[in-house]
């Protein structure tokens, strides 16, 4: 493999359990692709392909059925999507998909209109979270450290590191990261997460959280 290019076989990349029974193939995280969000989801017949969700204002996503067959729900409509189907979903519209065949793989491309793509590292956080649940704390922490090294000034990576340490039972370290996230988040985008994120539940009784929120 040269430094300048890389080959990837989607079905051979280690997939990670993500929320709502989904399995993420972390394409962007594996490759380090920077211009857009690219990932893939795999599921067997009847399985959830990606978590049902809506994207924030400005976030467009294109889903491409690479292998197998999926049933897509977008808004209130449902459509059959065999391999080779492209499904476009505008911002703020509900989308969900289930696999109709074993070994279904759906590739997804996403980005924000008029903005440079900012990975934020949610995939890495999801992988780190899986490692944490498996007791592989060192591997998980290495991923968080790498994310922070890549985007030291982005509040969300510090916030996610705080969540990780909260769940791992290290409140001191968690608050260190969360304080940094609060400092960097000049637009107050994190406020809602600080209030509602269940990842921070282990810290809810800690006066330091009250202090941060105040």
């Amino acid at each position: 493999v040269s430094d300048g290019y890389e080959i990837l076989t989607l079905s051979e990349v280690e997939a990670f359990p993500h929320r709502e029974g989904t399995n993420l193939i972390p394409v962007r995280h594996t490759l380090g692709f920077r211009p857009a969000g690219v990932n893939a989801w795999k599921a067997d017949a009847g399985g959830q392909v990606m978590p049902p969700h809506e994207e924030d204002s400005g976030n467009e996503e294109l889903y491409v059925v690479v292998q197998g067959r999926a049933s897509f729900t977008v808004g209130e409509e449902t459509a059959d999507a065999p391999a080779g189907t492209l499904v476009f979903v505008p911002p703020q519209v509900f989308r969900s998909a289930t696999a109709e065949e074993d070994g279904t793989i759906v590739f997804v491309v996403g980005g924000s209109i008029g903005e440079a793509f900012n990975a934020g590292g949610w995939e890495a956080f999801s992988i780190a979270d899986w490692y944490r649940q498996e007791g592989r704390i060192d591997e998980a922490r290495a991923i968080m450290a790498q994310l922070i090294a890549e985007q030291p000034d982005y509040w969300a990576v510090h916030y996610n590191a705080g969540c990780f340490e909260s769940l791992a039972g290290n409140p001191d370290s968690a608050f260190e990261h969360l304080r940094r996230a609060k400092e960097l988040d000049t637009e107050g985008a994190s406020a809602e997460y600080f209030r509602e994120d269940s990842d921070l539940d282990p810290l809810r009784d800690d006066p330091r959280l009250e202090e941060l929120l105040g």
């Binding site: 300048g4 490759l31 920077r34 292998q67 459509a79 999507a81 080779g84």
Partner: protein
Amino acid sequence: VNLAHIDELDRIEMPDGFVWRPVRRHFGIKAFGTNAYTPGASGQIVEEHTETTLGHEEIYLVLRGRVRFTVDGDERELGPGQLVYVRDPSLSRAGVALTDDAAVLAVGGKPGEPHEVSAWEYTFSASPHIRAGRFDEARRVLQEGLEEKPGSPPILYDLACVEALAGERERALALLNEAVAADERFRAYAETDEDLASIRDDPRFPR
């Protein structure tokens, strides 16, 4: 549901013998750059090129069939669900379909910058219409391009060519001068372009 099968997308035959399937344009995607390709008569599916000018990182994902990619001189045969990620924009890359049903999805852009629609998406879309004398179709595509990219010199220039071919001298001259004013390079192109032959004798023709 806003969906399309790859085989339902427009087929635009490109000069290199591959067929461009406009994905971004079909859906009106603004946030990122993506397109699909299928092989033409020559079997070519991804033209040999670099991304040096635009500085794009690119992913080429095989959706169907088999494709032999040549990247930086290395040959790799890929099937469905396999991709090649070309990080270095200066590397030469090309793809030849090994099966007639091959289809490739490309995703690319310049890291750290918002996606900007490329003028070539419109000029290449209009080109088959211009060659076939379907001037209204060509105008429609290029006008759509100008709405997306107001004042784009290559689109203004191609629209000038359409008007010149259609015998609309005044419109052609106005568009051509607008293109040259926005980008000097079009002055030289205009000098020898066959499409502009009908207006070249006009004193207002840029020289």
